[in-house]
């Protein structure tokens, strides 16, 4: 995967040496961009044909860090290229377009931009391109890398290193991340490290991010159970959990996520497309969550039998069969971190199976999966089975969660969806619905999540089986509307959100079909709140990018500086221009 980039020798002077592939059919632009990028100290490769670009990328996986592509190209639609790149390689892609087109239709630009983002573009630049915009593209690469690592909770170390510019540490950190990212192997280590850092990090980390480890989540769930879902409140949970250095806000945000998760489960059950939950498991292999997915997939098979053992074996992401997907999905929910928790999610697979049996399942999964993801999954309340009994009708949200889910589980075969759906007969979501106060939140995040996932997954899996309706797209708008509100609510989820959001996205980008769907689901479930936040953040990012572009339409006030007292040249003098220019 692309994570190699991080460990490449250019670490000490990041972002210099960034390997960029430029795709554009216009040679004029190719030359200009090449020059600009070289000035930024990046390594540039230009390509005039999209087909050629794709083959270049395929030949050298890990050979490029980022791709800048024009959207209007003769041989292949720029958006399609976006999708391919996103699908096959975990590369950030920036799409470019002639800005003039915006003149034609006022909202043309926005919709085109949106289309670009929908297809998985990290950023969208308008022609003509400014140097300063290009200078910022390394952020995308960096951000992607960060998110891959984040799950492993090593991010903080890396970020810290980045700010200090300590190249040694940076490399170490990256090295670590790279290790972690290499799926399965280091799971245990990671997890144990994760656990340790769980509390410790809170105080030391600048971000004071709380890592919801398996144990922690178990405690949380236990506390919630004891209190009674209806009456649960962060303060009570906090007291019951009796974990030092855990703040009320941490609990509150976690609780919210949990509720969202439940509501998502419920929605999924209602619909035949259980999309959401499992998504997390699908996370890309490179991602720690990805590992999750692999495990989940294994579990899925079991799930059908009601057994949840998660086999740690890396999921051959691509080869996951539909059944496994379902299982994964379920697993993910529970699996990620807390095994016992898993049980809850496992429920779905076999409607007939008693919820309780699901509880058992959590364990096999084992920790190998990245902690971060696990933490999130803990959220999946395996122990929630009591809630399972809650009627599905609890769904408050008006929109169709299924659709949202559909968006997510693009990858899984429709059949899978059915299966998974059946499996989640009574999702715990009822719980969330039960809590009226949070319903709104849950409603929203759920919406958003799916739309978001849908969004990205659509982009990446254009060819996905997905039957999800266009509603997911519309959800996006909802999502956007909701974002502002959610962001205020989910302040505490900041860091987590970012990571969560990115993970699923990444998962999607990995294009591991089988996984993607599962992972997305899971992640979605878990981090509804997170997604929410992330989306908001992402939008913000996007906006930032756009603003400069807009500003670049600077009126040519050059005249001011260039006023000379000359007679006007007549056209014949233009020949002189030729001469002077070409000398």
């Amino acid at each position: 995967m692309m994570e190699n980039g991080f460990s490449s020798p250019r670490n000490d002077s990041f972002p210099a040496g960034l390997r960029v592939l430029v795709v554009d059919d216009d040679p004029t632009w190719l030359k200009i961009l090449e020059k600009m990028l070289k000035k930024c100290s990046y390594e540039v490769t230009t390509c005039g044909l999209a087909r050629h670009a794709l083959s270049l990328l395929r030949e050298r996986k890990g050979g490029y860090d980022i791709v800048i592509s024009d959207v209007y190209m003769p041989d292949m639609d720029g958006f399609k290229l976006l999708e391919h790149v996103g699908l096959e390689m975990d590369l950030p892609v920036i799409s470019r377009c002639a800005c003039d087109l915006t003149v034609m239709s006022v909202d043309g630009e926005t919709s085109r931009v949106m289309k670009g983002v929908q297809h998985g573009a990290c950023d969208y630049l308008l022609k003509p391109i400014r140097m300063k915009e290009l200078r910022n593209i390394w952020q995308h690469v960096f951000r992607k890398k960060i998110h891959e690592v984040r799950d492993i909770e090593i991010l903080e170390g890396i970020e810290f290193q980045m700010t200090r510019n300590g190249s040694d540490q940076y490399e170490d950190g990256h090295f670590l991340c790279g290790e972690d990212l290499t799926l399965i192997k280091k799971r245990k280590d990671v997890e144990s490290r994760h656990d340790e850092k769980d509390i410790g990090d809170n105080s030391s980390s600048k971000k004071a991010r709380v890592v919801w480890s398996v144990e922690l989540h178990q405690k949380f769930v236990k506390a919630v159970n004891e209190i009674g879902f209806d009456k649960v409140g962060p303060k009570k949970i906090l007291d019951l959990m009796n974990v030092p250095r855990l703040t009320r806000e941490n609990v509150a945000s976690h609780l919210q996520k949990y509720r969202l998760y439940l509501s998502r489960l419920q929605k999924e059950n209602d619909f035949n497309n259980p999309v959401g939950m499992i998504k997390q498991s699908d996370s890309p292999l490179s991602d720690s969550t990805g590992n999750f997915g692999s495990q989940n997939s294994v579990n899925l098979q079991d799930a059908s039998n009601g057994c949840y053992g998660f086999s740690g074996s890396s999921l051959g992401v691509h080869n996951v069969d539909p059944r496994s997907h379902d299982g994964d999905r379920k697993r993910l929910v529970t699996a990620p971190v807390a095994e016992p928790k898993r049980g809850l999610t496992v429920d779905p697979p076999n409607p007939s199976k008693p919820r309780i049996s699901q509880m058992e399942f959590g364990h096999p999964l084992a920790p190998p999966q990245s902690e971060v993801n696990f933490a999130r999954f803990d959220f999946s309340f395996p122990t929630k089975y009591p809630w399972c009994g809650i009627p599905e009708t609890q769904l408050k949200q008006g929109h169709d969660p299924l659709h949202l889910n559909d968006g997510f589980s693009r990858l899984p075969m429709p059949g899978q969806k059915q299966l998974s759906r059946a499996d989640h007969p009574q999702p715990a979501p009822a719980i969330s619905s039960a809590t009226s106060s949070t319903e709104r939140e849950t409603g929203c995040p759920v919406k958003i999540k799916p739309s978001h996932n849908d969004y990205t997954s659509n982009a990446n899996h254009a060819s996905a089986v997905d039957s999800s309706p266009l509603q997911t797209k519309t959800k996006l708008t909802d999502h956007q509307a909701v974002l502002p509100t959610s962001s205020t609510e989910n302040q505490g989820l900041n860091m987590n959100c970012l990571t969560d959001l990115e993970s699923p996205r990444k998962n999607i980008n990995l294009g591991t079909l089988p996984f993607a769907t599962l992972d997305e689901d899971l992640q979605v479930c878990f981090v509804t709140g997170d997604y929410y936040m992330n989306l908001g953040l992402q939008n913000i990012e996007v906006q930032e990018y756009f603003d400069p572009t807009i500003l670049t339409g600077v009126p040519t006030n050059l005249d001011d500086g260039l006023r000379f007292d000359y007679e006007i040249f007549d056209p014949t003098e233009y020949s002189l221009i030729d001469q002077s220019l070409f000398i």
């Binding site: 216009d26 040679p27 632009w29 800005c99 003039d100 040519t556 050059l558 040249f569 221009i577 070409f582």
Partner: protein
């Protein structure tokens, strides 16, 4: 280059001055925009002829595009505005790359007419 050899050394400064004037005029007239300045900034020791190279390429490409457009228009049965639109987009993009503002604006108008299937336009 069309300049006598002896003029080369002596004329460099003068040429530079002329060029500045020319550029000023062009900017003033809106023929060029700030993108051209960007291009100039890109030129440095490692690529001393950057601007000229780019402009060269631009002219080359534009020539092709214009030829295509001309061909399309001359065809009495012309009805493929879509194709024309594609060419125009291409041309617009190219022009904006070097800051050929006016060309770009013309393209915009051209394209507007073409979108309305307004052949006369």
């Amino acid at each position: 280059m069309g300049l006598p050899l002896w003029m080369l050394g002596w004329g460099v400064d003068r040429l530079r001055a002329d060029m500045s004037r020319l550029l000023a005029i062009l900017f003033h007239q809106g023929v060029l925009d700030e993108q051209f300045l960007q291009l100039q900034q890109l030129q440095d020791e490692s690529s001393p002829n950057f601007v000229s190279e780019v402009v060269n390429i631009y002219f080359h490409e534009s020539e092709k595009l214009l030829r295509n457009l001309r061909g399309l228009l001359l065809d009495r049965d012309f009805s493929d505005y879509k194709q024309m639109g594609i060419h125009l987009i291409q041309f617009m993009g190219s022009s904006s790359s070097i800051g050929a503002n006016r060309v770009r604006n013309v393209c915009v108008a051209f394209r507007a007419a073409s979108e309305q299937n307004n052949r006369a336009g």
